[in-house]
């Protein structure tokens, strides 16, 4: 198995293990979405109207929550020093870590999102659109979030700072992700939203690992 996959597998196993990030992120995701009907009222008309936005905002927050230990754990136990000695450029090591984060938080949230659609009264054909949008949007969250995680790797309790740095950068994902689900609800196919999400992902793929590797090198000194 290549070094890249080996790093992904290790990180995913650590995340799925007890005390790992996955369970926390998914439960937080579910809980946050459940709060909205309690706050706004149970009328399905209203809930259906705000469902895409609520699901996406909760997904953003859940992703941020599980990111601050992405590199910090490795820095603190010395793994980062070793990862820098691996025959794989640090940029690809960073990409592997972001992929592992997506597999361990993005995918589970994706799997759970139809359930949240039911909670918020989404109609039938919206689920396909919801899954597609989440699939296209959540990887960018892991990549952009990875930049925040690397920049705050040496910061004590950097979780809140990480969200402050990264959430503004995730606005496009939120806008187009919600738009994609809205147009699915309206029965149109994804419209221009899915290509936009794909374009954002295509831009984030080279940008994020470069920025993450740059930030990590600072902390290797």
């Amino acid at each position: 198995m290549t070094v890249f996959l080996r790093i992904v597998v290790r990180d995913v196993r650590l995340a799925f293990g007890q005390g790992g990030a996955t369970v926390l992120a998914v439960v937080f995701f579910l809980l946050t979405v459940t709060l909205f009907p309690l706050g706004i009222g149970p009328e399905t008309g209203v809930l259906r109207r705000i469902a895409p936005g609520v699901i996406w905002v909760a997904a953003l927050l859940a992703a941020m929550l599980s990111l601050d230990r992405l590199f910090q754990a490795d820095l603190e136990d010395g793994s980062l020093d070793q990862l820098a000695l691996v025959p794989l450029p640090l940029e690809l090591v960073a990409a592997a870590k972001c992929l592992a984060h997506w597999i361990s938080t993005g995918l589970p949230m994706l799997a759970v999102s139809p359930l949240l659609g039911v909670l918020l009264g989404l109609n039938g054909e919206a689920y396909g659109g919801l899954l597609l949008a989440m699939a296209a949007g959540t990887p960018s969250l892991s990549l952009m979030g990875g930049i925040g995680a690397a920049l705050t790797v040496s910061v004590r309790r950097g979780g809140v700072l990480l969200s402050l740095l990264v959430l503004p950068l995730c606005v496009p994902v939120l806008v187009f992700g919600t738009g994609a689900v809205d147009s699915a609800i309206a029965g149109l196919e994804g419209g221009a939203h899915l290509p936009a999400l794909a374009a954002i992902l295509a831009a984030a793929l080279p940008l994020a690992p470069w920025a993450i590797a740059g930030a990590l090198r600072l902390n290797l000194e």
């Binding site: 700072l161 606005v171 496009p172 940008l207």
Partner: protein, 242 residues
């Protein structure tokens, strides 16, 4: 290129900035006085907005400066990373609070302008929303500087954030514009009004130049302070090592 490099040496910078600052200060004051005079007394009322249009002469230049300051931060950050010049990083650090203040000013004047036009203090207009997100980018940048105690590492981390930010600003602007057209019928009155004819343009440009002058003056003051703070840190560390 050569003399810019010479300027990168802090002591030379201190001397240059002290000599240039009074002149830019005077020029800025003059520009500001003319600008305000033109905006309040000379510029004609707008046939639609009446005198409320005068708020534009403060709102638009501050929005310009909010973006300009971020551009300065990004260029200084890139220069800092490429030529490893601490002065460039300090320039970026000095520019951030000024940019944040201009963003705040743009938001406040935007709300004051929105009230008479739409009867609400806050309008989710595409431009205003982008300025609000820019404000959070500034807060994040400033917070990152303060969160990392090792000064050299804070400088480079902030530089990376500024570069990532500057790449994202057009994407954010595009997505907010898209979001705006999606949810709101094209509002007849765009924030910066229909095409601006010359009588409104001159005060706008004069105020813009005045704000730019102000930016340079305050930047040189804050930068000088950062350079001195760096010298204090070095002196203190030398003493502590005995």
């Amino acid at each position: 290129m050569a003399n810019w490099h010479r300027l990168a040496n802090p002591t030379l910078f201190l001397e240059w900035s002290r000599r240039v600052r009074p002149w830019t200060g005077v020029a800025t004051a003059a520009l500001l006085a003319t600008g305000v005079y033109l905006s309040l007394f000379v510029a004609p009322r707008d046939y639609q907005q009446g005198d409320a249009v005068r708020i534009m002469f403060v709102h638009v230049p501050s929005a310009w400066m909010a973006l300009f300051a971020y551009a300065v931060m990004a260029v200084a950050s890139a220069a800092g990373l490429i030529w490893k010049s601490p002065l460039a990083h300090l320039t970026a650090k000095a520019a951030a609070p000024i940019g944040a203040s201009f963003t705040l000013l743009a938001l406040a004047t935007g709300a004051l302008w929105g009230q008479p036009m739409w009867g609400t203090w806050w309008v989710w207009d595409a431009r205003l929303t982008s300025v609000l997100i820019l404000f959070f980018l500034y807060l994040g940048y400033i917070a990152l500087w303060q969160a990392i105690d090792d000064h050299a590492r804070a400088a480079k981390s902030a530089a990376i954030l500024a570069l990532v930010g500057v790449v994202n600003i057009p994407i954010i602007k595009f997505s907010v514009d898209w979001w705006n057209t999606l949810h709101q019928p094209a509002s007849v009155l765009r924030m910066d009004g229909p095409s601006i004819h010359s009588s409104l343009l001159t005060p706008l440009l004069v105020m813009g130049a005045a704000f730019a002058g102000y930016f340079v003056v305050v930047l040189s003051i804050r930068l000088e302070r950062e350079v001195l703070a760096r010298q204090v840190r070095t002196l203190r560390r030398v003493q502590s090592r005995g």
